[in-house]
């Protein structure tokens, strides 16, 4: 194999080793159907494979990877929207949860994760990206770089995310992250 290809392949193997789990979570945030989600993940990995040569260090590799992944997933959502006619809402439009006393009973981790993804699937693409970035532990600056939102808007959305998560997953203050 030529030296250039092996380098590209080696770089991509490192990307896969480091980011595959996060990309699987990202794909799950954008697509509820398991089969379509596998296609989306494949689409994201192919897009990363093709784009890696173009990485020019103007941003961090992490930002680059998340930009490609989110942009690929956003295109996927646009295509699905044209077919399914779904309606997504913004973070501000999410309905308040029912009586929070019901949520104080212990909820299995798997149920909480499923509920979280159900919540994410209702969101408009841009709010979904902020939510995913927040749940992956990214700071406001990184989120701003990936989404293109102003720092002010990122801060506002994160504040709303914290409010939503606190109300929906109140279990003695356990952080769903």
């Amino acid at each position: 194999m030529p030296q250039v290809e092996r380098s590209h392949g080696a770089d991509f193997e490192e990307v896969l080793a480091t980011y595959l789990a996060a990309l699987e979570r990202l794909a799950r945030a954008y697509e509820a159907d398991p089969e379509t989600r596998r296609d989306l993940l494949q689409e994201i990995l192919i897009a990363l494979w093709k784009s890696l040569d173009g990485f020019d260090n103007r941003c961090s590799l992490r930002t680059w990877i998340y930009r490609v992944a989110h942009n690929t997933a956003a295109s996927h959502v646009s295509r699905q929207l044209r077919m399914r006619r779904q309606i997504f809402v913004g973070l501000e439009e999410l309905p308040e949860p029912a009586d929070s006393r019901d949520g104080e009973d212990a909820v299995a981790h798997r149920d909480a994760v499923a509920t979280l993804y159900e919540l994410v699937h209702q969101l408009k693409t841009i709010d979904r990206q902020v939510m995913v970035a927040y749940l992956e532990g990214m700071d406001a600056a990184q989120t701003s770089e990936i989404t293109g939102l102003s720092a002010r808007n990122v801060a506002t959305k994160i504040h709303r995310i914290k409010h939503v998560l606190a109300h929906r997953f109140r279990e003695g203050g356990r952080d769903v992250r």
Partner: protein
């Protein structure tokens, strides 16, 4: 998933996108076949010119859809653009496509339609009866109404996209 599997699936993925695009243009191909059949069987020179212009118009329309349409793969520099930049670019492209529908979608069909309608009108007048003349005139009005209706619908869709573009610009400030 290994690197080799990704590489191997990149080619089949691209073929799947192309297959998806090809299905979208089956209707256009069927129309071209129909006009081609009419072209081959009519002895009227003017009608042949009309059918020929319609076929050329359909080919141009299909080419325009293929080069500007929605089935394009993600650009390889997608990592350089934030989501807002990327999405804005896509929305602007789609908005401009809708705004220019007269140029690439409706316009190419007008010369062929005009010649065919003129041919039909000529035959109707030569037949010397009122009904065929009225029928062709009404058909011409109907075609014009459909064309303007399509342009109007696309104009409205372009306005909706402009609202989304404005929202993105606001979110980025």
């Amino acid at each position: 998933m290994s690197v080799e599997q990704i590489q191997a699936s990149a080619g089949s993925f691209q073929r799947r996108i192309q297959g998806r695009n090809a299905r979208e243009y089956v209707a256009a191909i069927a129309v071209v076949v129909f006009f081609g059949w009419e072209f081959s069987r009519t002895p009227d020179l003017l009608a042949r010119i009309g059918f020929g212009l319609m076929i050329a118009g359909m080919f141009y329309m299909v080419w325009a859809l293929l080069s500007r349409g929605s089935g394009r793969p993600l650009p390889e520099d997608a990592g350089r653009a934030s989501f807002i930049e990327f999405q804005r670019g896509e929305l602007v492209r789609q908005r401009d496509l809708l705004r220019s529908v007269w140029r690439w979608y409706l316009g190419p069909l007008i010369p062929g339609l005009a010649v065919l309608l003129a041919t039909s009108f000529n035959h109707a007048i030569q037949a010397g009866r009122a009904f065929p003349v009225v029928f062709v005139a009404l058909f011409a009005v109907l075609v014009a109404a459909v064309f303007f209706g399509i342009a109007r619908l696309n104009g409205r869709a372009a306005l909706k996209l402009q609202c989304q573009i404005d929202e993105l610009d606001e979110a980025g400030r």
